[in-house]
């Protein structure tokens, strides 16, 4: 009997080979909303996710609400790290990407990145 889950998994692995825009969202801690930036095909393929995140975080033209989110991210990054799917962000962006669709049916790669300050906890 074929393993449908694994079949889906292999499709998912193949999907990121398409040429789609890349949406990166950097979320502070456990927030539901983060900073979003869009990279057009051709502008992100040769870069690591970390480089792309740095680009997002170094942008200066954020609105007031986004600036608040940026501050929260920077607070987490003071002693913290960026994680995507539980891993550090040193790989290529597409290693972390899922394909999503807008309401109009346009596809894009989506990479959620969390800025986490690991609580040391314990004794």
């Amino acid at each position: 009997m074929p393993d449908f889950d694994l079949e889906k998994e292999s499709q998912k692995q193949e999907e990121p080979q398409q040429s789609l825009p890349l949406v990166i969202e950097i979320l502070p801690g456990q927030a539901g909303i983060g900073l979003i930036d869009i990279f057009q095909p051709g502008s992100y393929e040769q870069k690591s996710l970390r480089e792309l995140c740095d680009k997002v975080l170094n942008k200066r033209d954020w609105g007031i609400e986004d600036r608040e989110t940026l501050e929260s991210i920077n607070r987490q990054l003071d002693g913290g790290i960026l994680l995507s799917k539980g891993k550090t962000v040193d790989g290529g962006a597409l290693e972390y990407a899922d394909v999503e669709e807008t309401e109009e049916g346009e596809q894009y790669f989506y990479v959620p990145v969390r800025a986490i300050k690991p609580q040391e906890g314990g004794t």
């Binding site: 801690g29 539901g32 909303i33 040391e120 004794t123």
Partner: protein, 401 residues
């Protein structure tokens, strides 16, 4: 009049049983000075004993007074006795309050405003931080209207405020009550200086306590008016959502939620961790069930796990345990920012805090339990190629450590 016929016995009975006679001077009650040979010696040496009625002039606080042959020592301020009576003798205070409600029935029909500041902070400030929009390309923090729409959908709230809510939120009724209460304010006589009889003292106290209760009730009504005035300009749909959320006392949206506690107006706020996995020293994987990391809106904002739960950072396998955190100064005042910080710190500890090399925490994932402890994690162990881990549904959150 309260305290004369129908009123309950006052703790003043105990005062008189103990002291037999009380001396009043400059707003203070003086109690008979119990005989003590050393004090007697000091009084004789000071020459004060020879004077008929004496105040110790060189003492600014007039600690000792003499009336004929008896000495009295300063006891308590009459004013603070009356103003602290609610705390000193809550049952007696409530009996007097009930008596006032019988006299002024409109007071008992005033309801507290269920829409408290804390509830508004939770729904309008904390919830939008943790909850995301479904449509990714429209990502912006939820606006107030969007939050309320979400809550409204979740609680299935009709957009119209029900009649009983209108009654509770009616300011006019409160203003009338405040006016009526101003007219009911009793005039308080002052206790004369000197020895007072029990009846005299009781009469004075009843009048003063009634005035104090009326003052407290006025303050309460003014607070209620102020809290309702804040909502006067909010549209009915918004008010309906806040009111229903307050009445229901609990809500959960996308893993963020709250529920009312046994303390009036206080809540437990939580965020679910979702399932996650941790790695041990040998690279083995342990899958942890979802739990709610919570804080209380009263007291210190220490994050704890609501469920019966075990984790290297929890001492036992039990419900309601505080998460062990190091080098973190947790805030003690409830604000949206502090609550978000504390909940995030708690989740961060559970998900990202365990260092598999260092095995930090009360327990380590891979070793046998400490003597006296029964906490082990073998039952959470799953193969590395567990389908849910391979599919990315459950993340190994301490892999990077």
């Amino acid at each position: 009049m309260i305290g004369v016929n129908s009123s309950p016995p006052l703790p003043i009975d105990y005062l008189y049983n103990f002291a037999k006679e009380l001396f009043i001077h400059s707003g203070y009650v003086y109690f008979p000075l119990l005989f003590d040979p050393d004090v007697e010696k000091e009084l004789k040496a000071s020459g004060l004993c020879s004077r008929q009625h004496v105040e110790i002039e060189n003492s600014s606080s007039n600690i000792l007074l003499r009336d004929r042959e008896s000495w009295f020592v300063k006891g308590m301020s009459l004013e603070s006795f009356v103003s602290s009576y609610e705390k000193l003798a809550p049952e007696s205070y409530n009996q007097h309050l009930e008596a006032l409600y019988k006299e002024l029935p409109f007071l008992s029909s005033i309801d507290d405003n269920p829409i408290t500041d804390k509830l508004c902070t939770i729904i309008l400030e904390i919830l939008p931080y943790f909850v995301s929009k479904n449509r990714r390309h429209e990502r912006k923090k939820l606006t107030r209207d969007e939050v309320l729409e979400l809550v409204s959908e979740k609680l299935n709230i009709p957009p119209v405020l029900p009649e009983h809510a209108r009654r509770i939120l009616n300011i006019e009724k409160l203003r009338v009550a405040l006016n009526s209460l101003s007219k009911a304010r009793p005039t308080c006589s002052k206790l004369p200086s000197g020895i007072v009889s029990k009846t005299e003292f009781e009469h004075w106290f009843s009048e003063s306590l009634k005035a104090e209760i009326i003052k407290n009730e006025r303050r309460k009504i003014k607070r209620s008016i102020a809290s309702r005035e804040k909502f006067a300009r909010i549209n009915e749909k918004v008010l309906a959502v806040l009111f229903f959320a307050a009445e229901k006392g609990s809500l959960e949206i996308e893993g963020f939620g709250f529920f009312a506690t046994e303390h009036e107006g206080e809540f437990i706020i939580y965020k679910r961790t979702g399932e996650y996995a941790l790695k041990d020293y040998y690279g083995r994987i342990y899958m942890f069930p979802d739990c709610r990391v919570a804080i209380r809106t009263n007291g210190t904002l220490d994050p704890f796990v609501i469920e019966n739960y075990k984790h290297p950072f929890l001492q036992k396998h039990a419900p309601g345990q505080k998460i062990c955190m190091r080098n973190t100064l947790l805030p003690s005042t409830f604000t949206a920012q502090n609550a978000i910080f504390a909940i995030q710190e708690g989740i961060s500890a559970l998900l990202y805090g365990y260092k598999y090399r260092k095995r930090n925490g009360y327990h380590s994932l891979d070793s046998i339990p400490m003597p006296g402890s029964t906490v082990t994690f073998d039952d959470y162990m799953v193969p590395k190629d567990h389908p849910r881990i391979l599919r990315g549904e459950v993340l190994v959150t301490n892999e990077f450590r």
